[in-house]
């Protein structure tokens, strides 16, 4: 680890001010950043710890909307239950140690192509709320580790419309237990949304053909005849592109069945 300073703001305003510093880096739960620092793969001047910002903590439900503070841990979301599909997803992230440190804001800001939360945010049509604006999930995810966040911008909360039914199924990469293919299916009155993580070179994406079919008939049988192109799929030692493409359909069907 290289040397760095740590600041611990108490408010979003203080955090934003600290992030304006040279080579400042936001620190959520540190589940990706700390190992990266230990390996000397990053050298920020200042870490801005967000865990003490009380405005960014907690989960509030109002009507059919669930608002989760950006510094809320996976464990807190897993324990909440207001949006069972989302809580189910949070409970599958990492292990208890990870879930007690890792945060939703940190996960979404990092946008690991195999992370779980991006699938929930995209499938739910969530709104990413930052210290400066609100970003629709459809506009937020811009490829592997790429997001719409600007330099110094902080995810302060995420707002999820609670669907009629939802489920997340994760087929794990056996070593990391990140998603080899993870699919979040969410059924709203307006239609069904399906988001896939782990599989694509472009990061999380919506499987629109499945959304159309499932909006007509929310059953696994509706997926018969559909297929996913392997063209943009990741191919690595854990799975070929065609395997991942195949798994998307299998895992989607399982998510639909579990949600039904």
């Amino acid at each position: 680890m290289y040397n760095f300073d740590v600041v611990t703001p108490n408010t979003i305003a203080e955090a934003a001010a600290a992030m304006a510093g040279d080579e400042a880096q936001a620190l959520g739960g540190g589940q990706t950043l700390i190992p990266t620092l230990k390996q000397r793969l990053a050298s920020p001047n200042t870490l801005v710890s967000l865990s003490g910002v009380s405005e960014m903590q907690g989960i509030t439900k109002s009507g059919d909307t669930l608002r989760i503070g950006g510094a809320t841990t996976h464990h807190a979301v897993a324990s909440d239950g207001s949006y069972p599909g989302l809580s189910g997803l949070a409970g599958q992230i990492g292990d208890p140690a990870v879930r007690n440190r890792g945060t939703i804001g940190g996960s979404l800001a990092n946008n690991d192509p195999a992370a779980c939360y991006p699938a929930a945010a995209l499938a739910s049509g969530a709104t990413i709320i930052t210290n400066t604006r609100e970003i629709a999930a459809d506009d937020y995810f811009q490829g592997m580790f790429e997001t719409a966040l600007e330099e110094g911008e902080i995810i302060t909360a995420v707002s999820f419309p609670i669907p009629q039914a939802a489920n997340y199924q994760k087929f794990v990469q056996p070593a990391s237990r990140f998603a080899l293919v993870g699919v979040f299916v969410a059924k709203y009155a307006s239609g069904v949304r399906v988001a896939v993580t782990g599989a694509s070179n472009d990061g999380v994406f919506r499987w629109t053909e499945a959304e159309e079919a499932l909006s007509r008939d929310f059953s696994a049988a509706a997926l018969e005849g559909l297929s996913v192109s392997e063209d943009d799929m990741i191919s690595d030692l854990h799975g070929t592109a065609r395997y991942r493409a195949h798994l998307i359909k299998v895992v989607t069907a399982r998510a639909v069945t579990a949600a039904s």
Partner: protein, 790 residues
């Protein structure tokens, strides 16, 4: 002796108290006065010519005390291979020098070419980053076939990438070829025994220190055999006189083979300690462990089994390429040869065995013995090809094995691969396995799985292994450069408690509990008064260390011999005290008594007399009560077993779930059944890990893509079923005093083929024409195999 402490008692492991409460003391926990830190500069390319290394900037960095490169070690010796293998043409194997630090070339990613000594670890790291190395990348030799035909060499001076071309038994070659040519049926299988990263929980670590006033060196290090490490450093590498070097291996957090060997880091910290005049500590990080610990396995094999019309085995013929990596690690040449080829007859009365092994240098981490060391490779080949033969012949795989088993009345049995099996009963093991695993209930379980949409398979296995490698005379003839005995000293203190100094090192095996059980049983005194001293060359007489499931069979036998000497002497002392002759003395429950009388003295009274020899026959007995024995066994011991595994395979995803795993092992007599069960559990976990999840992946450039736990899968508790373990069918080893065999590796030897046999059976039951999938049998491999078989 009461069964709660003696032989056969399931005594709780006394060492676990400190391990489970975080009070063990590992090398990295040790802080020596004025300690400094070493960090290594390691190659990021698999193969490269070192054109220049500029350390001038690094040397000026804050806190830096010294910088070393390969130039500093050109005049010291190389780290040698412990076993000389001769090729079929009689030529000795190629032995390129393995230097302390790379010199001239780097030969694998992680190969250390420089080291910085600094006041703190972070300062040393900073300085390593300031070293300017000009390394010209050369083509990487990764694939073994490509290596053998390449004109680029890992070691230019030997002008080949082949270390040796070994035949076993060469005199059987033609007869084996003829038998296979003329056989009624020949089953052929090509398979890969996948390379494994050992992944001991504790990374390697070493502290070198030097006392200028006396010239004494001390090395604290993560070693399975401190005496061998001392010998290698003294006699081969640094030339430090053996009596001026103490090697201490304190608590060691697992080894699995990878800490048998001497590594360059150990020599570096010793040399550096002398130069900087302060202790030098190095502790590997996890990435260094992945890149530089000796890996395991990595064989590519073609095996053929010839059978007659009745299913009798006629011959096994094996053609193996064994990857030795970039340098010869200490046991790397023994593992694919004498620890592998000699087992290629399995548990069977096959008359002919021929094994050809070509060892190949590549630009990868050195490969050496890893839990099982050669025997898992042999067992996997044999037991997979038998399973395939059974399928081809339409025979039941259990019956085909039984038909060819060596029978109990055939011992001692001279195997076609050159070993003499001393005892066993393979049918009894198979009977017990069928009972414990409930083989008769399999079809009902298969139907239940199918009702869930899953394919279910049953795999079985019979294995034999050779452990407690010996005797020295034989291994010397076969090329070993060391003897394979062990040593123990039993020291009875004046107050009657006992320290037993043993050459075997305990790093998870439970010696501190099991060895006292033996001494306790023999002397009839409470085990809690007996402690084990190990891991320090200044405290123990000598030792060949712990590997190859040898501790109890070899070192435990030395403990027995030394304790027998204690009893002989103690009886003489007791006889004097009781005014009889020592023939009249018997020892029961810690009391020496004269039969037919009420005369007796306790063990403690005898001990006190030995150290306060008033009224003592000094003319015929020395004072003191301490005895040492060296024990060189007459033969290997031969554990064997019958295993069964049931898996469920998801036809949609290819994911394999192990549902049942049964291991019935013959370990001879058992000293502590709880420890034995634990050893089997660990072995099974590692074997299932190899079979299903552990994948060491070098790309074409020699980059280890599976160099962290993000990509290298370790088996976890939820990957494993509750194990069914039985060792009730022991046939005692006939040539060691305890009648014991070795249990440390069995699980890792027996389980991989059992699992893969089960997977193939499941796929066949689902209508997939698949006869083999290479390990690790990952979901993608299963799914791709199903697609390709369509």
């Amino acid at each position: 002796m009461p069964r709660d402490t003696g032989i056969g008692a399931a005594t709780l492991r006394r060492e676990d108290v400190r391990f489970l409460t975080g009070t063990g003391e590992y090398t990295d926990d040790i802080v020596l006065a004025k300690q400094t830190y070493a960090v290594f500069a390691r190659s990021t390319v698999a193969h490269g010519k070192i054109k220049s290394i500029d350390t001038s900037a690094a040397a000026q960095m804050p806190g830096v005390l010294a910088v070393f490169t390969g130039d500093d070690f050109v005049d010291v010796g190389g780290n040698p291979a412990g076993w000389l293998i001769n090729s079929r043409d009689g030529e000795p194997m190629k032995e390129p020098k393995r230097p302390v630090l790379a010199h001239g070339k780097v030969r694998h990613v992680g190969d250390a070419y420089a080291a910085v000594i600094a006041e703190t670890v972070e300062q040393a790291r900073d300085a390593v980053e300031a070293i300017e190395a000009d390394i010209e990348e050369l083509p990487a030799i990764i694939d073994m076939n490509a290596a053998l035909s390449s004109s680029t060499y890992v070691h230019d001076e030997i002008e080949t990438n082949q270390c040796f071309d070994w035949g076993w038994i060469e005199d059987n070659r033609e007869a084996t070829d003829t038998a296979i040519k003329n056989a009624h049926h020949v089953t052929t299988l090509e398979l890969v025994n996948n390379r494994l990263v050992p992944n001991a929980m504790e990374p390697r670590a070493s502290i070198g220190s030097y006392k200028a006033s006396t010239g004494e060196y001390t090395l604290h290090t993560t070693s399975q055999n401190p005496h061998l490490t001392r010998l290698l450093i003294s006699a081969f590498v640094l030339g430090i006189p053996e009596n001026m070097l103490t090697v201490i291996a304190p608590d060691v957090g697992g080894g699995f083979g990878s800490k048998i060997y001497h590594y360059g880091e150990e020599a570096l910290v010793l040399a550096a300690a002398k130069q900087v005049g302060r202790p030098v500590k190095w502790t590997a990080d996890r990435t260094e462990s992945f890149l530089t610990d000796a890996h395991g396995r990595d064989h590519v094999t073609k095996i053929e089994l010839a059978l007659d019309a009745e299913g009798n085995f006629l011959a096994f013929r094996t053609d193996t390429k064994a990857n030795v990596g970039a340098y010869l690690s200490n046991f790397s040449t023994a593992t694919p040869t004498f620890l592998h080829g000699t087992l290629m007859g399995g548990n069977y009365t096959v008359p002919l065995v021929y094994v050809n092994v070509k060892a190949v240098f590549t630009n990868t981490a050195p490969v050496d013995a890893y839990r099982g060391a050669g025997r898992p490779e042999a067992t996997y080949s044999i037991e997979r090809v038998i399973d395939k033969a059974a399928r081809e012949l339409g025979m039941d795989p259990i019956e085909l094995r039984r038909k060819n088993f060596v029978k109990p009345d055939q011992y001692p049995y001279a195997s076609a691969a050159g070993l003499e099996y001393d005892a066993g009963n393979y049918d009894a093991l198979m009977d017990k396995m069928e009972e414990v695993a409930d083989i008769s209930g399999f079809e009902a379980r298969r139907k239940a799985s199918e009702a869930k949409g899953l394919m279910r398979g049953l795999g079985v296995n019979a294995y034999i292994e050779a452990c407690g490698i010996a005797p020295s005379n034989l291994v010397g003839v076969l090329g070993s450069r060391v003897g394979l005995y062990d040593a123990a000293t039993v020291r009875v203190n004046a107050t009657g408690n006992i320290s037993v100094m043993v050459g075997a090192h305990s790093h998870g095996q439970g010696h501190e509990t099991a060895f006292p059980q033996v001494v306790s049983d023999m002397l009839g005194i409470d085990a809690s008064t007996i402690d084990i001293v190990h891991g320090d060359t200044s405290k123990i007489p000598f030792g060949m260390g712990t590997y190859g499931s040898r501790s109890l069979a070899v070192c435990g036998s030395a403990v027995v011999r030394a304790t027998e000497k204690i009893i002989v002497k103690a009886k003489k002392i007791a006889a004097h005290m009781l005014e009889v002759t020592d023939q009249d003395i018997s020892l029961n429950d810690g009391v020496f008594s004269v039969e037919g009388t009420n005369k007796s003295v306790t063990f403690g009274e005898v001990a006190l007399k030995a150290y306060i020899p008033h009224d003592y026959p000094l003319e015929s007995i020395e004072p003191g009560l301490e005895e040492t024995a060296f024990y060189d066994p007459a033969n290997f011991t031969y554990p064997s077993g019958a295993y069964a595994c049931e898996v469920e395979v998801d036809p949609e995803t290819g994911k394999v779930r192990v549902d049942r795993m049964c291991a019935v092992d013959d370990f001879g007599n058992v000293i502590n059944p709880m420890i034995v069960t634990g050893q089997v559990h660990g072995g099974l976990a590692q074997g299932i890990g190899q079979a299903l999840v552990e994948q060491t992946f070098y790309d074409e450039y020699g980059q280890l893509l599976s160099a962290s736990y993000m990509d290298y899968t370790m088996p976890r508790a939820d990957d494993l079923p509750m194990f069914q373990v039985d060792h009730s069918q022991g046939t005692p080893c006939v040539h060691n005093p305890l009648g014991v065999k070795g249990c440390g590796e069995a699980g890792a030897i027996g389980s991989p083929p059992t699992v893969v046999n089960a997977v193939v059976d499941a796929l066949q039951s689902g209508g997939h024409n698949i006869t083999h999938i290479d390990m690790p049998v990952t979901p993608v491999r299963v799914w791709e195999a199903m697609q390709n078989a369509k």
